[in-house]
Symmetry: C2
């Protein structure tokens, strides 16, 4: 199959540091190519993903993040290079509504939460485009959007070593109240376990939150490492007794959870967003909305079987599984099996029938 | 004719203060309605333009200015309300590329300069959409864009009194080096004429420029008024001997020039962008790239006939003329006379032939 992938213009693929969307697009591109498919990737020109790139795109510019002019210009140039593809998988927000030519079947993934603005956008796009949700929870919030399929993220496991665990808990994310960084500190202190925090802190709001809330709570038992490299990340995760993930919002997926499990480290956190789809309570971690109980669960985490944690990711959250799910979806779209016309514009005269999201795999059964 | 107008989501129509696009959309909406047409305006819900508004849109939010999610969500909701229109005139950036349903003929105006990003966007849009340029100069910079027509802006003149002129020069714009505010100060001082400056100053860059460059140059002969209301604007303009407009960039139109002329006040400035299409050198003002000569021209400006300045706007830059030009374009689009198919999607199989921009009226002959 000839598959065009379109990443946003803000961050290279793979990302040098923070960038969940770009990490997933990178794994998908490599996996599709490894499976023998022809992949053409539209991404910033400084991307290093080892597949053919659309030429003459701009280098990544995070200063234009979210702006219509930069995104739409990128989308226009990307689709102009896709004429020979069988199908386009679009990871931008503006692309799925673009009246591109020649008309191609399009699959679109929303990597963020469904909010008022982008729900209206994906609802309109889903008349013509197969919209992928990244968790059943995210799909349940996509009011008015015809979700063609739920496909969980996956990750490449070849370079991720299983760690031996250790005597500390870790936190990985952004310096943001939604991520539960303050709750993690409180839980670790109550459990009497040291905490190592690795977190992105670049935006003014992140720096303000660090200065006003987080820094005053640091001490010999709670260490702040800042933003770390992928190598440092896996060492930190693999050396931990558990990863604390007491998120305070409905995160649509949560790559850090599968990254922790991949190193053998269980996850202790709140059952919000996609967390219950990723963590098997009592086997690969513990989930409860009761923050007081989480300290007790953190103390129990070293008793969990680290090999089970790794095996769960290999079975349910590998790049291979993610690639297979997408190939099945692409084939279904081309065959008309998603209820969408293979060539979107053919639907111009009327809207096709409703497609229900598939139940998807249940990690709890693995 | 049933005409849908789509304004951007950032500023109400008409604008309470700064907002050239919204001022033009307001004049167009009123003029089309006054000419007996059915107008439906998609604009922020706090707009006060006296035509029917698309219901349930968001209020203006300038904090989201330029962002894809806010703009595209607005565009999706706007087109969803346009099904019964004969034609849509879209003033957003994202709208002209939106695969809307049911498919309607679309006219799109670029109110800003053509830069690398939006030129790619309008070039793609112009396969299906009649792109309007707001000056011949702007059209000349639209590389790869099939410009359907050049239509100069116009303004409602009924409420604009002709002033008596006076002993000062004025400057109207933003606190920005491109607008020539520092040059205006220098020209006025050389000419020995007091200067009154009214300018928007909200963005951090504007405030920085004011603090570092403009404020140190103020004095009893150079007064800074900040941002002013429309009423104050016409009083300031009408009471001036001339408006200084020594722009340092190729401004695609320049509403302030026709606003000054409407009050009878000539314009002295640089011949950049659309200025030579608006100002008749030696009759409604003076244009030269030589900044040293501008002080001499400023001294000559009181000798020009203020009635001629007003008459020039009435003839070439009235809302009535702007409305008539658009109605002619709309009719041509519906009749297929612009070379675009009346229903854009019919062009999906192949691109129609090239349309050259029309020469447009020449203000110099008026």
């Amino acid at each position: 199959m000839r598959i065009g992938l379109i990443a946003p213009p803000w961050i290279p693929v793979p990302p040098p540091a923070y960038g969940g969307t770009e990490l997933v697009v990178d794994a998908l591109a490599r996996g599709l190519a490894a499976a023998g498919h022809e992949v053409l990737l539209a991404a910033p020109s400084d991307s290093t993903c080892p597949v053919p790139l659309v030429p003459d795109l701009q280098p990544a510019d995070s200063r234009t993040l979210g702006f219509t002019d930069a995104e739409l210009a990128h989308v226009v140039r990307a689709y102009a290079a896709m004429a020979d593809m069988d199908l386009v998988h679009d990871h931008t927000l503006a692309g799925p509504l673009y009246r591109h030519r020649p008309v191609l079947p399009v699959v679109a993934t929303n990597h963020g939460p469904f909010n008022a603005a982008n729900t209206a956008i994906y609802a309109a796009a889903s008349r013509d485009v197969a919209v992928v949700a990244i968790s059943r929870h995210q799909a349940s919030t996509a009011t008015g959007v015809r979700v063609a399929r739920v496909i969980h993220h996956g990750m490449e496991l070849g370079n991720v070593p299983v760690g031996d665990g250790g005597g500390y808990a870790c936190f990985l994310g952004r310096v943001n109240p939604d991520k539960g960084i303050a709750q993690a500190i409180s839980i670790a202190r109550t459990a009497g376990m040291p905490l190592k925090i690795a977190a992105k802190m670049r935006e003014p709001a992140e720096i303000d939150y660090y200065d006003s809330v987080i820094r005053p709570q640091l001490g010999s038992d709670v260490e702040f490492l800042g933003e770390i490299t992928p190598q440092e990340k896996y060492a930190l995760l693999g050396g931990a007794a558990a990863m604390l993930n007491p998120i305070q919002w409905d995160e649509p997926f949560g790559l850090v959870m599968i990254e922790a499990l991949a190193t053998g480290t269980p996850v202790v956190g709140t059952p919000r967003g996609a967390a219950p789809e990723i963590i098997v309570h009592g086997r690969t971690g513990f989930l409860t909305a009761d923050l007081d109980q989480l300290a007790g669960f953190l103390q129990q985490a070293p008793d969990l079987d680290r090999a089970q944690c790794r095996a769960h990711v290999e079975r349910h959250f590998s790049a291979r599984r993610m690639v297979e799910d997408h190939l099945q979806l692409y084939a279904d779209v081309l065959a008309g099996g998603t209820g969408l016309p293979a060539v979107p514009e053919a639907a111009a005269a009327g809207l096709p029938g409703t497609v229900r999201p598939e139940p998807g795999r249940d990690p709890g059964s693995g």
